[in-house]
Subunit: 712 residues, 2 copies
């Protein structure tokens, strides 16, 4: 989708333009006039005449000229007619700013469907509805429904689902942040965040992109686009709506461990996106990237007038993996001239209350010439902030990253605005300034490698057949033998496994299997096998009794369970000596991605919740990173306290094969392979379960996976 005409229309119709101050249709036209829109304006108003001094038209059809784009601020109910009129008159882009659509429920969704149909029919495009349009500072295209003050052209691109980002939030922010373009996307029935991102990514005026998102459509495409851009242009995202609703709907334990929040984080990580905690953080980061180069090293020169604020800055730097710069001897010597005798350290340089702008400037310039210094954080005094502005005007920072902190910043905004205009971001605490510097450094290390997933030789036909059988039987989960068949078809090693339907069968089977055995009830009605007494471990004799004991115990604990609901008992040789891990996947409908999960497996999976997430497809590097990114299990697999290392290669291989499986069969919505028992050499899946999409039935079954060894 080429959005050139949306951002750079030569002519623009404003449908619903008004002469009445306070009306939204007044504001939109007023904004366009005040910001000096470089194209031609065509106000449309049923009454006709002059609107804000410009000749208006009673309908779009009356406009004789060719028009590139339109904005409509008419009620939801008549919007489809207006949009159709635009499209049929050759207007390719219509921005629908009115609210009252899908966000209000069924009736609004109906209207949205009509709009979607028009988009298809005419092959034209809609921005919104329920948005505040676009601001392009470069050509004065300023469409918000709230009045917007003067904007200086800058290098920040902002994309937001919420209209407030194009008006209310700008009210003060425009004093310290310089935007190139702002796009609000609202209900995004057509043009979405990915389209906007792609456009801003390719625009050379934009150096950093900030986004406020509540969800992502077309996750895979978003990821591809964002990944491309973030390698050369930082993208910062604030994700609103961090609820964990997804959890309640999860079918397997795997899906329940990491909510959709973790999946979003996995997508953002994979895309090289920086995640903001809140609005302040979003804009603090954006200002840093917008105004300063990224630090060349992780070592920082800290200047302060207060020892305590030097300490908190140092704390933060060290917590973020950066540190204080060790200065060269010549640096230290020339710096000493400017530092009071009463101060114990050169870095942080505590200049005490006597700190003055000239002194700070000198020390900054000396520090900037030391190659050990990647960035400079100077803590300035709010009382005299204005006097810093003049001194910083022609400072030579030698390409080093400079950030300032001012405790009491909000009371010294004149000075802040002055320093920001010179290109120095000013933050409210030394901690925040240090954190931004450290984040900028982290992002300057671009270690992105294109995804290069292996393609394994697999037996797709086999999997298709298993899934087809399940579908035919109305099953939405596949466990036991079916699950093992799927795994085997994809070259994933599985444990030996036998099914006994009667005590006698158990006796007969077991007499031919060596070693202690695990007995586990097999019934789609028993959700938590272990909790319900459906598991016996280490069975070595008297197999008939063990079979009967399990059935009796489970039935005693589940009054509604019938004997016919129990298929029998699954028998597996006990295996030990390894580490139990979990491999799983979940399809995130809201994002449109399969997320692969890896973590500490076994009986206590949910207690430890030690899971890392990756976006399918995984290549080897990414699969390895997933193992590394866990809190515990990755380190345990390395072999601790004199142990030999466990077979991480086997884990990585399995992760890649799972990733190929869910890409080949998108109908697999969840997988939990737990435990996958990993030895020093090799490993096997001991229990696995799949959830698949089925339209026939909605009764999804949740089943625990069990371990056949004692937890390691």
């Amino acid at each position: 989708m080429n959005l050139q005409k949306l951002f750079y229309p030569k002519s623009l119709a404003i449908i619903g333009a008004s002469n009445t101050p306070g009306k939204l249709g007044y504001n939109v036209l007023k904004n366009l006039i005040d910001h000096g829109f470089e194209g031609k304006l065509y106000p449309v108003n049923p009454r006709g005449g002059l609107v804000q001094g410009i000749r208006s038209y009673t309908s779009v059809s009356d406009i004789e000229d060719k028009v590139d784009a339109a904005v409509t601020i008419v009620p939801a109910a008549i919007t489809p007619d207006v949009v159709e009129e635009c499209f049929s008159r050759g207007i390719e882009f219509v921005t629908v700013e009115a609210a009252g659509f899908g966000e209000l429920g069924a009736r609004g969704k109906e209207i949205e469907q009509k709009l979607k149909n028009l988009v298809k029919e005419y092959n034209c495009h809609i921005l919104g509805p329920n948005c505040s349009g676009i601001i392009n500072v470069n050509n004065g295209l300023c469409q918000p429904i709230g009045l917007v003050g003067d904007l200086r052209p800058g290098n920040i691109g902002l994309i937001a689902q919420a209209g407030v980002y194009a008006s209310g939030i700008l009210w003060g922010l425009r004093n310290v942040m310089d935007f190139s373009m702002i796009a609000t996307i609202g209900n995004k029935i057509d043009i979405d965040e990915t389209d906007m991102l792609e456009f801003m990514g390719s625009d050379p005026s934009i150096k950093v992109i900030a986004m406020y998102l509540e969800d992502i459509r077309r996750g895979e495409r978003f990821l591809d686009v964002a990944r491309d851009i973030s390698s050369h242009k930082p993208i910062i995202v604030l994700k609103g709506g961090r609820t964990e609703e997804g959890k309640a709907k999860a079918v397997t334990h795997t899906a329940a461990i990491g909510g959709s929040r973790q999946s979003y984080e996995a997508v953002f990580d994979e895309a090289g996106i920086i995640q903001a905690r809140d609005n302040d953080h979003l804009f603090d980061l954006a200002r840093g990237f917008s105004k300063q180069p990224r630090p060349s090293t992780d070592k920082v020169m800290v200047i302060t007038y207060s020892g305590s604020q030097g300490i908190t800055a140092t704390d933060t730097l060290s917590e973020m993996g950066c540190g204080l710069a060790d200065l060269d001897k010549p640096t230290r010597e020339s710096m000493k001239e400017h530092i009071p005798d009463l101060v114990a350290t050169i870095n942080p340089a505590d200049l005490t209350f006597d700190q003055n702008p000239e002194q700070v400037r000198r020390i900054m310039e000396i520090a900037a010439r030391d190659e050990n210094v990647g960035g400079i954080m100077a803590n300035l005094q709010p009382e005299i902030l204005n006097s810093y502005v003049e001194k910083m005007k022609d400072i030579d920072t030698n390409g080093k990253t400079v950030v300032f902190s001012v405790t009491g910043r909000e009371f010294a905004m004149d000075g802040v605005i002055g320093l920001e205009a010179l290109g120095f971001p000013v933050y409210s605490t030394p901690e925040r300034a240090s954190e931004i510097l450290a984040t900028m450094h982290r992002h300057s290390i671009n270690n992105f490698k294109p995804r290069d997933p292996k393609v394994f030789q697999v037996d797709r036909g086999k999997v298709s057949r298993v899934l087809a059988v399940a579908r035919k039987m109305g099953m939405t989960t596949v466990g036991g033998f079916g699950a093992f068949q799927i795994l085997k078809a994809y070259g994933i090693p599985v444990a030996e496994c036998y099914m006994a339907r009667t005590p006698e069968e158990a006796e007969e089977l077991c007499s031919s299997i060596d070693g202690p055995l695990a007995f586990k009830i097999e019934s789609s009605k028993v959700l938590h096998k272990s909790d319900m007494g459906g598991v016996e471990l280490g069975v070595t004799e008297d197999f008939e009794s063990a079979f009967i004991k399990i059935i009796d115990r489970v039935m005693a604990r589940s009054p509604d369970l019938m004997r016919k609901d129990i298929d029998g008992v699954l028998i597996q040789p006990m295996m030990g000596g390894g580490k139990e891990v979990l491999i799983g996947s979940t399809y995130e409908q809201a994002i449109g991605c399969h997320i692969i999960k890896f973590g500490l497996g076994g009986k206590y999976t949910e207690i430890f919740g030690d899971v890392s997430n990756g976006v399918a497809p995984l290549d080897e590097e990414r699969a390895k990173n997933m193992v590394r990114n866990t809190k515990y299990i990755g380190r345990l697999l390395e072999g601790q306290r004199g142990e030999d290392p466990y077979d991480i290669v086997a884990v990585v291989d399995a992760l890649m094969r799972f990733s190929q499986l869910v890409r080949d069969f998108p109908e697999i919505r969840e997988i939990e392979a737990n435990p996958f028992l990993v030895w020093n050499n090799g490993g096997v899946v001991i229990d696995a379960r799949f959830a698949v999409v089925s339209q026939e039935t909605e009764s999804l079954v949740c089943e625990d996976s069990e371990t056949v060894k004692e937890a390691a």
Copy 2:
């Protein structure tokens, strides 16, 4: 210590008072004059004459009147003489504001020692050195070395180690925060944070106390005082200097797991103190508590003009354990009149861009009358913030907690200052406002119970003897049999344990012990038994060979180890089936407290780092909380996935006994009992090690604890 004369002196000498603007001695006197100090001022200046229009004295001895207190701003080197002159003239309190003391190293520490000696000799008191004195807004006592603008009397007490809190930081803050007293304590060679806390705790003008601390002296006293106060007056602490230096010095693994940061957190938790993340957070919290009542319920009414900001507020409330209030039907109905039709929910009430002050006020008043509502968070528009001030003047909030958020707050400070003056704290994001509200609610639930530790019947004499023997041998650690003797003397159950010095002894011993055995090398030179191959588990036969194998393997891996360094092999029956926990303790010199630790034990203790901390002495409730406060092991002990619960009572009993042990023998600086194996009924310590204070030797030995069962 009664600080009445320090805060309310009737007469005050200012030694080093100056006529030269810019000098510190000028600023101190100027502050006192400008703030209308209600006592008599006696400037002291060697030149005499008028200082800032007040008759001065060439020395303290020249002052004929009785003087209550003095401030000195003379160089460090002559400070002891000046202080002695004051003390000998009957001045009880001297505030030493000059820097150049202990913070600069040995020379400065010498001067401080002189000052300390004077304090003892004269039984008088020093505040500082290296501080910015005291501000008491109630009597105009304003001593900072930086000029301070007008202060309105308020209800906040502020205690800070750093002088900047009494000047630079106040510069803007005084516009939105109203203090009663501010005390800076600097190097606190005499008067410290606890003295100040005690004074402000008992002052009825103070409603909330904010503190900036880098360390705590006299931790136990601090805890007692803070605990008393925090039950009726919130205390908020920002702890600077969050470094983990302590870790490097730790002797046992236990001490290495939680750094001093965790110990501080344990002390603050025990004291009911709220911990701030940074300066902004400290003052945001203080403003909330200062201006508003604490919420009566955890349910909040959210008002916003932007859906996205309603979402982020809701996210934060839910993350903090609060939520949106379910409004009563009448409330919803009267509220609907004021909410636009286009909005889907009543709470959050999204008033869209049309939000106006009258409407917000109406909705607030309706919400305040609903008993489901504990607090109200309203997100205001910065563009029109001034217009809210008038509307909020006589609003009836019915005793509910009200906080505001203004995105772009820093650009609307006039309105912010107006609202703050009305008693409404205004925060920069909906997230922050919601977080403060939630924290205020959390603190309104005062569940403090006085500590009531059990006193167990123990054999103190036995422990004294073991420790005496160790001291005599120059040992700084006690492990093996010695450690077991100490534990037994305090009624803590320990595992069976035998020592074999030769292969033959091993053979003989083992023939009389049942079941599989654990063999572990016993040598003070082998630091990591497991890693060095010094452990064999599950030995059932051929005991001589097992003994030899261990010795050979360890010696092969440790080229410098001599056979004579190895005492032999420790033999224990293998025990299984339980959960491995860790109990430990560490003495925090910087705080002056024994911290008891409880966590997930066994081989992987450090990997999981799952430890909770408590301050000795522990009573039953607090010991139980320690078990509960772990991330994993507390839940595992409850019995998961069909397991019977483990014997938490035995754990709690042991924790209390350890707590009594370290209180009885403060020379025990660290303990690690790991694993303590807990069964469904009872438990035993399988390995333990003590570190004790010894002046004879500094070569502390670090030794791993080992498990005699396979990790559970």
